[in-house]
């Protein structure tokens, strides 16, 4: 830079000025070029900061999420004594479903540790197995009652604390009183591990189960289905409304006070905080119309109102980008104004409209705050069967899990975020693809 400065300075200034001012100019130039470099560096630093934060965000989430995709299981041999489960021998489903499987598991598990005798130790020992194990045995027996009397090896999830211990998230150096897993439990766990009974498997529960208070039994399927129904309602309501509104405003609306009001309105609506839409949903849909709380229908309606401006604005710009020559040609052939729009302009504008719709839907999929207002934060274990059932959605599930104190929910929250981000990335990539593939430059 300094070389460049002198050569620049040399021929132009050198011949006409004395050495002193030449020096001053050179100094001044040096300062100015340094300022130039500094300024450019600030720009690079700003971008680097933003990109680093993005990278940090993603890497934190992904690194925290990876353990959630595996689950520590125990392969426990259990003898299903008929006298414990079905003393009458009737084999009817009600008896099988109501039997005390807990004691069956306890017995089998305690047999492994004959040295554990005190009541307190036994309780701690049994706490190492997930409460969900009972249902695994029950479902197994109910599906196949002939197993009664057999000795079977069952793979059951360990409790979340033991799972965390296995994944190395719980340090043994911490004093015993400050960690969730006691020294004795660690000892028992190590004995189980030495016998080769512990196995780490892919965590299918996470993808197939609904919510649960026990991290090892909690899954995102319920929330994903809730999100699906909500998005379905949002799409069905907002897409036709937005497209009709966009066509009218762009193609037919006379320029007057009323249409100007609508336009200003749409622009302002796009910037209203999402939580205000939640208040609207609460006051109008739930309180005034008496719609059910926590239902995807209400959530979908609220999100539809929220995405409406986004889609309208995108659809209008897509319609605007179709050149007037298309319209004129169609008019020339005798098409009516509506035929011109529906038969000729709309097909050409469709990729743009769809792109805007997908982006709007992606926004709606990630939205949390308005859904909190209309009660979609309830703890719901069942997978919703329809748009009227109580449900929760992925982002709200993330919020709920993030609030849970159990350590194991941290990784599940991160994993749920990864799933949500995967959906969003998919939607945005398809929007970009649509735009690249079908968009025409006129």
């Amino acid at each position: 830079m300094t070389d460049a400065a002198t050569t620049l300075n040399g021929p132009s200034g050198g011949g006409f000025t004395n050495r002193l001012s030449d020096e001053a100019v050179r100094k001044n130039l040096k300062r100015r070029y340094a300022a130039e470099r500094r300024f450019k560096t600030y720009g690079i630093l700003a971008i680097a900061f933003a990109v680093c934060m993005l990278g940090l965000l993603f890497s934190t989430i992904v690194s925290k999420a990876t353990p959630a995709f595996t689950q520590t299981m125990i392969n426990l041999e259990i003898t299903l004594y008929p006298q414990d489960i079905d003393p009458e021998g009737t084999r009817d489903q009600a008896t099988l479903s109501g039997a005390n499987y807990r004691s069956v598991i306890r017995q089998a598990f305690f047999d492994l540790f004959p040295d554990v005798t005190s009541r307190r130790d036994k309780r701690q020992l049994y706490e190492m197995i997930s409460p969900g194990a009972v249902y695994i045995i029950r479902d197994m027996v109910m599906a196949n009652p002939n197993l009664l009397g057999e000795r079977v090896t069952v793979q059951m999830p360990m409790s979340d604390d033991i799972d965390q211990l296995n994944k190395g998230q719980i340090s043994k150096d911490v004093p015993e009183t400050e960690r969730r897993v006691k020294d004795k439990q660690i000892g028992w766990y190590e004995r189980l591990e030495n016998r080769g009974m512990i196995e780490t498997v892919f965590n299918t529960t996470f993808f197939t189960a609904g919510d649960s208070r026990e991290p090892e039994l909690a899954g995102i399927w319920g929330a994903a289905v809730g999100s699906f129904f909500t998005m379905l309602v949002t799409l069905l309501v907002s897409f036709p409304l937005a497209v009709c509104a966009a066509i009218y405003l762009e193609e037919f609306a006379p320029v007057n006070k009323w249409t100007q009001t609508i336009e200003v309105n749409i622009n302002n609506l796009a910037a209203v905080p999402s939580i205000v839409f939640g208040l609207l949903g609460l006051a109008v849909f739930i309180n005034f119309f008496g719609m059910p709380r926590s239902a995807p229908v209400v959530g979908g309606l609220v999100l539809a109102l929220m995405t409406l401006p986004t889609i309208i604005i995108a659809a209008r710009s897509a319609l605007k980008s179709v050149p007037p020559s298309i319209r004129e040609a169609a008019f020339g052939l005798g098409a009516s104004p509506l035929q011109v729009i529906l038969h000729h302009v709309m097909p050409l504008a469709m990729p743009g409209i769809l792109t805007g719709t997908i982006i709007g839907m992606a926004q709606a999929l990630g939205e949390t705050a308005p859904l909190l207002m209309i009660g979609m934060v309830a703890f719901i274990v069942d997978v919703p069967q329809g748009a009227l059932d109580p449900a929760t959605v992925l982002p709200v599930q993330i919020y709920l899990w993030a609030d849970s104190p159990e350590r194991a929910f941290v990784e599940r929250t991160s994993a749920a975020i990864c799933v949500l981000l995967a959906f969003l990335v998919f939607m945005n990539v398809s929007a970009v693809f649509l735009r690249k593939r079908f968009e025409r430059k006129w």
Binding site: L57, I262, N268, L269, P273, V284, V410, L420
Partner: protein
């Protein structure tokens, strides 16, 4: 039949009407479409509209009003002793009646005869309602089809009617946006007015203490609850200020670099990368703030001998700032790019370096647009909810110390409204009053910002 099924039936009937109309039109025209005024399909649409419009309106109206009408009928049918219950207990009772009728779990242990009667009544009400709506829909749609079919003749201007109807539908759709705004304003104002009957508006706007707990009994300590919004507004401002301290310089410098320095290739990668920041759900930022950034600041504070709360305004504000960067950068980028090239060339011609040109020519020229983009970003920050709900505190401190926990308007709206609520306590209504403040402030900011940006755009067009 349930509503999804009814909508399906309606769709089927409409399709049927379409084919009926087409066939009818062709048969009246002796099978030659040229004898018809409009294309045959338009006669189909004509019948389809006559079928779908009344059915659709009926179903929507029924869906919207069914619950409230049925509730009031149920209440009217209850014994007088139960009708006199307070509102909250009455709604609990109604819930139980419905659960009992659906065979679900009921919250009370004693199910007396009154409850059973009510449940039976409710069950009969539900089934007769479903029957009635099904019958009404069939009558309306079939009637529509028949009437429209009777009108079909070659001279019928089907296309004109269909297009007129479509135009009406489009106009209705375009007013939905206005109706939404109206709905927001009405619901906020209406509930706020109810709130202001309990709490004086001046106490609300200028009160310095916020503790919205309303006690169960009158004689408990602090039974009245204090609704002074100043600490919340101050907290919102503090967090937004921190957010803007991050977002404004970073976003602006990034925009300048992208618009003035970056080669097209770099710009093509960096711009979408920054936009990703705006596309990440806010709940993810909230998690990031609460789990990574807040503990980081707390530990950093410990190293320097400062006590930084684990719910500090700093962490929430900083993460919010990161989220807002693209809002500042992309709009600023646009306005900087929109500054005419001649201004730059004039400056270069006078011997200014690039950064001098930017600082002394381009930024002043683009200033209104940049201010507009910053204002839009501020309104985003004020309305942002999830980050502060997850990372900022709940206690209303009136402080300017970024290391302490503060609470914001949005956090309080969420905490007041999540969970069980009855609609006549000052606690829930306060949320609507806060919502009104939020709505007004963001609206004013947006209007100012959009006006500035638009004015500026006209200047160089």
């Amino acid at each position: 039949m349930s509503f999804p099924v009814l909508f399906g039936v309606l769709a089927l009937l409409t399709v049927l009407g379409f084919f009926l109309g087409r066939a009818r039109a062709l048969s009246t025209a002796n099978g030659h479409a040229r004898n018809l005024h409009s294309l045959p399909n338009y006669y189909g649409y004509y019948i389809g509209l006559w079928c779908a419009a009344p059915g659709f309106l009926l179903l929507i109206g029924w869906m919207a009003l069914e619950t409230s009408v049925m509730d009031s009928m149920l209440i009217a049918n209850l014994p007088a002793s139960l009708q006199g219950l307070p509102k909250a207990e009455l709604s609990l009772l109604l819930n139980d009646v419905k659960n009992l009728a659906n065979g679900d779990i009921v919250s009370r242990e004693v199910i007396d005869a009154d409850l059973r009667d009510a449940a039976a009544f409710y069950a009969s009400l539900t089934s007769s309602s479903k029957l009635l709506v099904t019958a009404l829909m069939v009558v309306l749609t079939c009637g529509g089809i028949l009437i429209a079919r009777g009108r079909i003749q070659p001279a019928l201007r089907a296309r004109n009617s269909v297009e007129r109807a479509f135009m009406v539908i489009m106009i209705i759709c375009s007013t939905i946006a206005v109706l939404t705004t109206l709905g927001i304003i009405l619901s906020l104002v209406f509930e706020s007015l109810r709130f202001f009957q309990m709490v004086h508006p001046l106490d609300f706007v200028f009160g310095l203490e916020w503790s919205p707990q309303t006690a169960l009994r009158k004689d408990q300590v602090g039974a009245t609850g204090l609704f002074g919004a100043v600490p919340l507004l101050a907290g919102t401002m503090l967090i937004s200020l921190i957010a803007m301290c991050v977002a404004a310089p970073v976003g602006l410098m990034a925009a300048i670099y992208m618009a003035e320095y970056a080669p097209p290739k770099v710009r093509g990668t960096v711009k979408p990368l920054l936009e990703i920041l705006a596309g990440i759900p806010t709940v993810v930022y909230g998690f990031f703030a609460a789990l990574t950034v807040a503990p980081f600041f707390r530990d950093l504070g410990l190293d320097f001998g400062l006590t930084i709360s684990s719910e500090s305004a700093l962490a929430a504000g900083m993460v919010m700032g990161i989220m807002i960067i693209p809002f500042v950068s992309s709009l600023s980028d646009d306005v900087i790019s929109a500054v005419p090239q001649s201004l730059r060339e004039g400056s270069y011609g006078l011997g200014a370096t690039k950064s001098e040109t930017i600082k002394q020519v381009i930024l002043p020229a683009a200033l209104p647009g940049i201010v507009g983009s910053v204002l839009l970003a501020v309104s985003r920050a004020i309305g942002e909810t999830m980050i502060v709900v997850m990372a900022a505190g709940l206690s209303a401190n009136l402080t300017a110390n970024p290391f302490e926990a503060v609470t914001t308007v949005t956090v309080q709206i969420v905490t007041l409204l999540v969970g069980d609520q009855e609609f006549d306590s000052a606690k829930t209504l306060a949320a609507f009053a806060l919502g009104l403040i939020l709505f007004c402030v963001t609206l004013v900011l947006n209007i100012i910002a959009l006006t500035i940006v638009n004015k500026y755009r006209e200047q160089y067009d």
